[in-house]
C-alpha cells in the first residue's frame, strides 16, 4: 500500500491485515478498535481510501471503511453512528475526486441520518453527484431530505431535473407540487413521466385532471405509464380518506378504456376500485364475472375473492361474490379459496 502519509495507526493496520474476517464475530473487535479511535481514526481511514482509490491496493481500505459505516449503524449504537456519519459527511466538502465522493455518499446511503442532509443537499447541484446524493436522500427518507430535494428542483435543468423529480416521486414534498404539475406537461418525455409518478404518489388531489389527460395520449408506453399514475393516484387519494375523488377518477378512466385492447387496463381499474371503494365496487366485479372474455372474467373472479375477504363475515355481498366466483372460473386455486372463505363465513 502506498504510504505517503506514513504508517497506518495500529487499529487501521490490524483491520487491513484481518479484514475481511471469517465471521462477523471475528470482525467485531476490529470495528470496535476503529471506532474507539473516534473521528481521528475515521478521518485517517478516509484519507487512506482517498489515497488508494482506484488502486488494487485500496481494497483493504474500502473494506474497512464500509465495515465502519455498516457496523456503526447497528441498532442501539447511536453515538457510533453519529460520529461516523458526521465524519463521512464532512469529507464531502473537500476536494476529493467525484468517484471518491460518490463512494462516500453510498456509505451514507446506509448509515446517514437527517443531520447529514445538508451535506448531501450541497451535491444536488453537481451534474455527476446529484444522482448518488438523491439516492442517499431517498434512503434517509425523512421530511428534511424531501425538503432538500424540493429546494434543489427550482434551479435544476436536464438530467438533474429528472433525477430530482423522480426522487420527489419516492419522497413527496408539498412545496414541490406546483413545479411538478408544470413538469407533467414538459416537452421531455422522461420529465413528464417522472412528474406524473411524483404527483400520483403524493396523492395530489389537483393531479387527477393532469393524469387523465396524459392517459389519453396515443403513444402506448406513455399511455400505460399515465394509466398507472391514475391508478396510483386513486389508491393514494383513498388512503387519505378521499374515496369519492378516487372513485370519480377511476370511473373517468374506465370510460376511456372500452376498447378490445384495453382489457388489461379494465382489469386494473376493477382491481383498484375493489381496493379503494370496497362495497361500492361489488356491482362492477359481479358484472365483470359475467364477461365472455376469459381475460376479463377470470381475473375478476380473483378480484372477487379479495373483495369478499375485505368485506368480511356477515356481509351478504361477500357470499354473493364468492358464489359467483366459483361459477365464473375453472381455476382450481380460486375455487379452493372461494370455498374456504364461504366455509369461514359460515355458509
Amino acid at each position: 500500500m502506498k504510504d505517503s502519509q506514513g504508517e497506518p495507526s495500529a487499529a487501521l493496520a490490524d483491520a487491513f491485515k484481518k479484514m475481511p474476517a471469517p465471521t462477523p464475530q471475528a470482525a467485531e473487535p476490529l470495528c470496535k478498535a476503529l471506532l474507539a479511535g473516534g473521528k481521528k481514526t475515521v478521518d485517517e481511514l478516509l484519507a487512506r481510501v482517498g489515497q488508494t482509490f482506484g488502486d488494487a491496493d485500496g481494497v483493504k481500505a474500502k473494506y474497512a471503511l464500509h465495515a465502519v459505516a455498516v457496523y456503526s449503524a447497528r441498532p442501539g449504537a447511536d453515538a457510533d453512528r453519529t460520529m461516523v456519519a458526521e465524519a463521512l459527511a464532512s469529507r464531502l466538502a473537500g476536494r476529493d475526486s467525484k468517484d471518491l465522493k460518490a463512494f462516500i455518499v453510498r456509505q451514507l446511503q446506509w448509515c446517514g441520518r437527517p443531520d447529514e442532509v445538508p451535506a448531501l443537499a450541497r451535491l444536488l447541484s453537481d451534474e455527476v453527484l446529484c444522482e448518488p446524493a438523491a439516492q442517499a436522500l431517498g434512503a434517509i427518507g425523512d421530511a428534511k431530505a424531501a425538503a432538500a430535494l424540493a429546494a434543489a428542483l427550482g434551479s435544476a435543468k436536464g438530467k438533474r431535473r429528472v433525477t430530482l423529480i423522480t426522487a420527489l416521486g419516492r419522497l413527496p414534498d408539498a412545496s414541490a407540487l406546483g413545479a411538478i404539475r408544470t413538469a407533467a406537461r414538459d416537452a421531455d418525455r422522461d420529465v413528464r413521466l417522472a412528474a406524473l409518478y411524483a404527483l400520483a404518489n403524493a396523492g395530489d388531489p389537483e393531479a387527477a385532471g393532469i393524469c387523465l389527460e396524459a392517459a389519453r395520449v396515443k403513444a402506448p408506453f406513455e399511455r400505460s405509464q399515465a394509466t398507472d399514475a391514475c391508478l396510483l393516484l386513486a389508491r393514494r387519494l383513498a388512503q387519505r380518506g378521499r374515496r369519492r375523488e378516487a372513485q370519480e377518477l377511476l370511473r373517468r378512466l374506465q370510460a376511456d378504456r372500452k376498447g378490445d385492447a384495453d382489457v388489461h387496463d379494465r382489469c386494473a381499474i376493477l382491481q383498484t376500485l375493489a381496493e379503494t371503494v370496497g362495497a361500492d365496487a361489488v356491482g362492477d366485479v359481479m358484472a365483470a364475472m359475467d364477461a365472455k372474455d376469459a381475460a376479463c372474467r377470470v381475473p375478476a373472479a380473483r378480484t372477487a375473492i379479495g373483495l369478499a375477504r375485505s368485506l368480511g363475515a356477515g356481509k351478504a355481498d361477500a357470499r354473493t361474490l364468492l358464489d359467483k366466483a366459483v361459477k365464473a372460473t375453472s381455476e382450481d386455486a380460486v375455487i379452493h379459496q372461494a370455498k374456504a372463505l364461504l366455509a369461514a363465513l359460515g355458509t
Binding site: 475481511p20 474476517a21 462477523p24 455498516v70 447497528r74 463512494f103 448509515c111 386494473a268 381475460a295 380460486v334
Partner: protein
C-alpha cells in the same frame, strides 16, 4: 380474398369449416365461460437475449418468436430495426401482436420490464431470481395481479414436488395447521458460492453496448467487462451472487412443500465472511431462515462461518408426526390445487404454478439472507408489512432508490 379482421373467437367458430390456414391472433380474445381456449400459437419476444435468452420458454407450448431485444447489439444480430430487433424494450412492448415476453436480463433489470409488460397487457416469463431487492418483488406481484396477466418464474421443481405424495402430505399438514409448532423441522440446501473481483478498473465501453441503458436503475459505476454478461451475478448492484442465482432453484420448491408461498421468514441469521465488500459478492458459510411456526430453512455456501450443526428432528413432516385425531383430519383434507403450467395459464387466463406472489416470496427470503450477510448480524422481518424490524439501516435495503428516470 377480401380482408377481414379475424378475432380468435371467429377463428374458433369457423375453424371446423375453414381451411388449414394458421392464424396468429391476439390471445386475449378467447372462448366463453366453461370452455377451454383453443390451442393456438402464442407469440413471444425475448428481452435480454444474452446467455439465458428464452431457455425456459418451452413451457409455453406452441409458440412463435417474433422479436429479440438487448442493449448489446451483438446479442440481437446487429443494429435495431424495431421490427425483429430492438434495443429498447419499451418500444417492443408497444406491439399489438405480442402476447408474451421472456425476460432474460440480469436481475437488476427484471422488475421494471415485468411491471411495464403487465401494464402493457403482456404475459411474462421471467428468469430467476425474480428481483434484486424486496420492494421490487412486491411491485411486480401487485402489477401482475392488478392487470390480470400471467407470470411464470424460470424454475420448475415445485411442479415435481406438487406431484409427490410425501411433499403433498407435508404441504397439507403445514397449510392446515395440523402441526402448529414446527420447531426442529429443518430443510437444508446448498448453493454455489462464487465471488466477484474487488478491484475493477474502469475500461472503455465497447461500441456494441449501451452501458447507460445496461445499468438502468443500478448506480453508475465505471464500465468493466466483469460487471456485465454473466459475471454481473457477483456484484451487489445487479444480483445477489449464487445464493440468489442458484438458491432460487431449491428454495422455490421448498416454499411450496412447506406451504410458505404467502409468507416470509421472521428471523434470518448469517454466518459469512465479514465485512462483505461494498461492490463485490464475497463468500458465505450458511444462513438460517426461521419462520413464525418454527420451521427453519438453511442455505449453505460452505465457505466460512463453520458448519451447520444445530439440532434437527426432521426434514419433512408426515402423518406419523400426528396423533390419531390429526391423522383423521389429514385424511379428510382435499389435496392442494393443481399447479397450472405457463402454457395452460396463458391460454386460460389462470395463474401459473410459478406465479408472481410465490416467486416474490422466494426472492424475498433470498434477499433477506443477503441483507443479513451484508449487515453481519441477525435481522428480523415482518412478513405482513414486508419490513425489517428494529434495524433501520438493514431496512434501507428492502427498498433501494433507483437511478433516474427509473422508479417502481
Amino acid at each position: 380474398m377480401a380482408k377481414t379482421k379475424i378475432t380468435r373467437r371467429r377463428f374458433v367458430e369457423t375453424a371446423g369449416a375453414a381451411a388449414a390456414t394458421v392464424l396468429i391472433v391476439p390471445r386475449h380474445v378467447l372462448g366463453g365461460p366453461g370452455q377451454d381456449a383453443p390451442s393456438d400459437t402464442v407469440t413471444y419476444a425475448v428481452i435480454g437475449n444474452g446467455r439465458r435468452r428464452d431457455a425456459g420458454i418451452g413451457c409455453l407450448g406452441k409458440r412463435k418468436k417474433i422479436a429479440v431485444c438487448d442493449v448489446d447489439i451483438k446479442h440481437i444480430g446487429g443494429a435495431p430495426d424495431n421490427k425483429t430487433r430492438y434495443t429498447d424494450y419499451r418500444r417492443l412492448l408497444e406491439r399489438k401482436d405480442l402476447d408474451v415476453v421472456a425476460i432474460g436480463t440480469p436481475p437488476h433489470w427484471h422488475a421494471l420490464p415485468c411491471i411495464h409488460a403487465a401494464q402493457a397487457g403482456k404475459d411474462i416469463f421471467c428468469e430467476k431470481p425474480m428481483t434484486k431487492f424486496i420492494a421490487e418483488g412486491r411491485a411486480v406481484a401487485d402489477a401482475v395481479k392488478r392487470h390480470g396477466v400471467v407470470f411464470q418464474i424460470g424454475t420448475f421443481k415445485r411442479f415435481g414436488n406438487a406431484r409427490n405424495r410425501s411433499h403433498v402430505e407435508n404441504h397439507k399438514i403445514i397449510k392446515h395447521g395440523l402441526m402448529k409448532d414446527l420447531s426442529g423441522t429443518v430443510a437444508t440446501t446448498g448453493a454455489k458460492n462464487r465471488i466477484g473481483k474487488t478491484a475493477l478498473p474502469g475500461q472503455k465501453v465497447p461500441g456494441n453496448l449501451d452501458y447507460d441503458f445496461w445499468l438502468g436503475p443500478a448506480p453508475y459505476k465505471p464500465y468493466n467487462s466483469a460487471r456485465v454478461h454473466y459475471s454481473n451475478r457477483f456484484y451487489w448492484d445487479y444480483e445477489g451472487g449464487d445464493l440468489t442465482n442458484f438458491g432460487a432453484h431449491s428454495f422455490d420448491p421448498f416454499q411450496w412443500s412447506y406451504a410458505k408461498d404467502e409468507t416470509s421468514p421472521v428471523r434470518i441469521e448469517p454466518h459469512a465472511t465479514w465485512p462483505q465488500h461494498p461492490d463485490a459478492v464475497c463468500p458465505y458459510g450458511w444462513v438460517e431462515l426461521t419462520y413464525a411456526d418454527g420451521l427453519k430453512v438453511v442455505i449453505t455456501g460452505g465457505r466460512g462461518g463453520g458448519k451447520y450443526n444445530r439440532p434437527r428432528k426432521r426434514g419433512m413432516v408426515s402423518a406419523k408426526d400426528l396423533d390419531d385425531e390429526g391423522r383423521k383430519k389429514l385424511a379428510d383434507l382435499p389435496d392442494p390445487p393443481k399447479l397450472v403450467t405457463f402454457g395452460q395459464a396463458v391460454r386460460t387466463r389462470q395463474q401459473a404454478g410459478g406465479g408472481a406472489e410465490s416467486s416474490h416470496r422466494v426472492s424475498t427470503a433470498l434477499n433477506l439472507a443477503n441483507i443479513a450477510i451484508r449487515m453481519g448480524r441477525t435481522i428480523r422481518y415482518d412478513p405482513v408489512k414486508e419490513q425489517i424490524v428494529g434495524d433501520e439501516e438493514a431496512n434501507r435495503m428492502v427498498n433501494i432508490p433507483m437511478r433516474a428516470p427509473w422508479h417502481l
